[in-house]
Assembly symmetry: C2
Homo-oligomer: 336 residues x 2
DNA sequence: ATGTTCTGTCGAACCGATTCGGCGAACCGA
DNA sequence: TCGGTTCGCCGAATCGGTTCGACAGAACAT
């Protein structure tokens, strides 16, 4: 079922079939109808590889995801889903490549085998060799999160520093003087993971600015660690009256530990942070939090499409600073 | 940087470069070294589209996922991750296609544009038109979950019926007489979603076999619905002493409702079911449950690779029936 | 009647790989 | 010394599309 077969059956040349399909040159209505009839009958669709070879583009986007060993957070999952959805809307396919572990063959295939027109890179480190590699090969790319020197690249990101600072200010306005930051895991922080580092810097700055007392701790990304983290906090810093967090996976554990210790939210302890909306809403009581927009992936795809079209244009960035949604988990300092 | 450029610089013909790379014909060591040197210098990699066109295969697998609107469960996520990982090990790439919503253009591109060598289809309905479509086009495919008439197709699946029955028997052995099944959402059951339906049939059968009293309810896939479901259960069927479930997303809500109502597990109520291991382990107390294997995706990929190699071979199936892991959430019937 | 423009179609080149048939040189045994 | 193999390489065809130049015929202006 190639284009030649269609041409023969319709009694025209191969180029005419091509033009009838693409509309790039005029074709008489009569001919177009005849061609279309044959196409419908045989359920013909042009071979993607042949088209890609001739056109020099694949109509495919590469999405580099963290390896399966690191389990994806809900936010990352939302991101992948919205990327795929947005690409589908633009009639683009998405090729997945696990990377960051030892699957570098996959990454190499995707970036230098010209399998894709552009790449979206998630889980960026502040110093990331994959970015360097992409710049070398000249493949258009957009990162989710940004590196230490972000001016030369395209990216979308959440402004963790500002958002965490806003959370601190919100708590300070309510009268809180001693606040804890529950960050992501120690390994992530150590490896230069942007969100974790920027959350910390936003936290320390805001704490200093308001003259408060701040405690920051790392917490692995699971419920058990969350429970342990809350226990440790109440043990070592019993005077803390509010918590700020970006660690979604720890929330169920925190919830459990709170109930076990009979700590009432927000009467005894206020909780807020930067979280995917559904995590905030699933907590009891629902968490006052900056909701990370789920359409980040959509914006990344738009940016990438734009970059593919005009690679010489100066790189653009999108930094999201969503407003804090007031729910029920923050309140005035408890009286003792 | 095409193969002609390499040939010119190495002073050989294009075919020699190709043979040096593939090893399909003898090439002298001297020539091979010279070619390799040029390739390394220019960082050359063959154009994937050209190769796919000539070879008639793309070295790419298609993975059809549910659309983003339905949020993926953790089990599905594990599955996607393990598919991508297994494909990468076999030097295959994975093309994502959201389908089941209204993005059928994407599905059509993937299956009939010869963009992939084979397809993995997840979230199968008992009657699924996508399966019919794939059979029409003759693209090799493997489904995760199976349709009403499963003999003609390749699939991997979890034997929900048997596993849920085993859970019931386990509880019956402990003395429980009145057991509830917390199923997935009513819509899923209504739409003919296999796991939900087979869980139900396994449940009813085992209940009848042991002469027990069974209650089955549907529960939306989120924490709030989980809490509501447990409340309803304790309200309408206060004599229930054990719960069996396959609804992971409802667990945090169930946990919360239990703690609020001061119901002790397993002293007042036993809980078990078929769940991804990490959900079972994150519960307090850890749930006795049949752990759904995380490597399902690996098996699906293996099966698909096999099917691509020998499409005429009779279709194979893999039905998983993992043993129940005894943890701490089931115990003898409470004395009143 | 003649020259010009416009329409619709065709043929051929091309994208970048793989692969088959063939060919010269080296090597073998008789 | 000569016929037959083997080895290593080359040239050309091929996969299935897209696109450019050419061209016949109709429409139109002069």
């Amino acid at each position: 079922m190639n284009i030649g077969e269609i041409a023969r059956r319709a009694g025209v040349s191969r180029s005419t079939v091509s033009y009838a399909l693409s509309g790039k040159r005029a074709v008489s209505d009569e001919t177009r109808r005849r061609v279309q009839a044959v196409i419908d009958e045989l359920d013909y669709r042009p071979n993607a590889a042949a088209r890609a070879l001739k056109e020099g583009r694949t109509r495919t986007l590469g999405l580099v995801i963290p390896p399966a060993s690191l389990r994806l957070t809900d936010m990352q999952l939302d991101f992948v889903a919205s990327v795929v959805e947005a690409a589908a809307r633009a009639d683009l396919d998405v090729l997945l490549s696990p990377s960051g572990g030892d699957h570098d063959r996959s990454f190499e295939r995707v970036v230098s085998g010209r399998r894709v027109d552009g790449v979206i890179l998630m889980e960026i480190r502040l110093e990331d060799e994959r970015v360097t590699r992409l710049q070398q090969t000249g493949v258009p790319f957009v990162t989710i999160g940004h590196t230490a020197n972000p001016d030369g690249t395209c990216w979308v990101d959440v402004d963790y520093a500002t958002l965490i600072a806003r959370c601190v200010h919100h708590l300070a306005d309510l009268g809180h003087r001693r606040i804890a930051l529950v960050n992501r895991s120690a390994e992530l922080v150590a490896s230069g993971y942007g969100p974790a580092q920027r959350a910390l810097s936003g936290f320390t700055e805001a704490i200093a600015q308001r003259g408060l007392t701040g405690v920051d701790l790392c917490c692995a990304d699971d419920a058990t660690a969350g429970a342990a983290c809350l226990a440790q906090l109440r043990d070592e810093h019993p005077d803390i009256t509010a918590i700020v967090t970006i660690n979604e996976a720890a929330l169920p554990g925190i919830q459990r530990a709170l109930e076990q210790a009979r700590v009432a939210v927000p009467e005894d302890l206020s909780i807020t942070g930067v979280l995917a909306r559904h995590w905030a809403e699933d907590f009891r009581p629902p968490l006052t939090a900056a909701d990370v927009p789920t359409e980040m992936g959509t914006y990344a795809v738009d940016l990438l499409i734009e970059r593919i079209a005009t690679p010489e244009a100066p790189p653009r960035h999108l930094l999201f600073t969503p407003a804090i949604s007031l729910r029920a988990s923050t309140g005035p300092t408890p009286r003792r």
